[in-house]
Symmetry: C2
Subunit: 194 residues, 2 copies
């Protein structure tokens, strides 16, 4: 099971880990199983753990005074989940993170993570590559939200990340796109009609 993390790191760092290094990595992480709807993080708490998703589906979202939820991240297996701002700055988070499907995670604390960065160069490289990709994908998403209509953003998502649409309910996808569930429903109908 932890082989998944090993090959993930090796892929992103474009190198291999020695068994000793991998041992260190595995000691730094704790396995955790979350059932559907269980929380990894609740608003107001500091994000103590960053998680690597082995299997499952999770979401990160805020809730406003009216109770409306705003989804800012959806995560599937072989990706990371956590509120980075809170995790690294040790500040209270404005986000909630919960499991949408039953999810298996590998969790790591800030301290342990820093230690890995200090001792294993491959982890540093991996982080650089991941940040790079995140930087690029967020910039694209930001550009979409400024330059594209609701329909265009939905169609872009269908083309680039169909797996999200398959795994999460429509209302979450709507929130992720920054539109109402009703609007998304209408957009989909019109897309089909054409």
């Amino acid at each position: 099971m932890s082989e998944v993390l090993r090959s993930y790191i090796e892929t992103y760092a474009s190198t291999t880990l020695t068994d000793a290094e991998f041992e260190l990595v595995m000691n730094a992480f704790t396995f955790k199983r979350l059932r559907r709807k269980q929380y990894l993080l609740q608003e107001g708490d500091v994000c103590k753990y960053y998680g690597f998703i082995l299997k499952g589906a999770m979401r990160q979202y805020s809730v406003d005074l009216k109770g409306t939820e705003y989804v800012i991240h959806l995560g599937l297996e072989e990706s990371w989940i956590g509120d980075r701002e809170s995790f690294f700055m040790l500040t209270p988070s404005q986000y909630n993170i919960d499991a949408w499907e039953d999810t298996d995670l590998l969790l790591i604390t800030n301290e342990d993570f820093q230690r890995l960065l200090d001792t294993i160069p491959a982890v540093v490289t991996m982080m650089r590559v991941i940040d790079q990709r995140y930087y690029i994908s967020t910039q694209r998403r930001l550009h979409s939200s400024i330059a594209y209509t609701a329909r265009e953003r939905y169609e872009e998502l269908v083309n680039t990340q169909p797996e999200l649409i398959q795994r999460f309910p429509q209302q979450m996808i709507a929130s992720y796109l920054g539109i109402s569930p009703e609007t998304l429903s209408r957009i989909r109908r019109q897309s089909i009609e054409k």
Copy 2:
């Protein structure tokens, strides 16, 4: 002048550079002066240089078929400018980058940048810290675009980055916020009336 870059790196890396290291850094960068409206990057080109702004104001934007401009980044002194996706992936950029004010830059190529990352640990650390901050600020901006109205986004910008509002014309700020210049004008009037 290049002392600015040195102290920037030292601040972000929380360490000092040896003179030898700084020598390497300076050899990697080229000084460039851009006049107002000159381009650093044009759509369709690969972003050959990443720039550190010593003095001035720059913007990064795309243009759609109708000629409408969408500003995705505004940069002032002591920050970086460039299309990271194009720069690191060597792909043609969809963005234009030009100088809004006369601007002094230090430019670096991808090759030279990789070399610095390989030879100077402080540069690696600096990048990690910068990426971290960018990650956080972009996530916030994304959250704003999903969860807040045009007015709220404008007010947030006034509170968090008033220097952008002072240095760039209103229509660029509007584009940066993803709203029309007319809408921004009306929002401002109403804010004043209250």
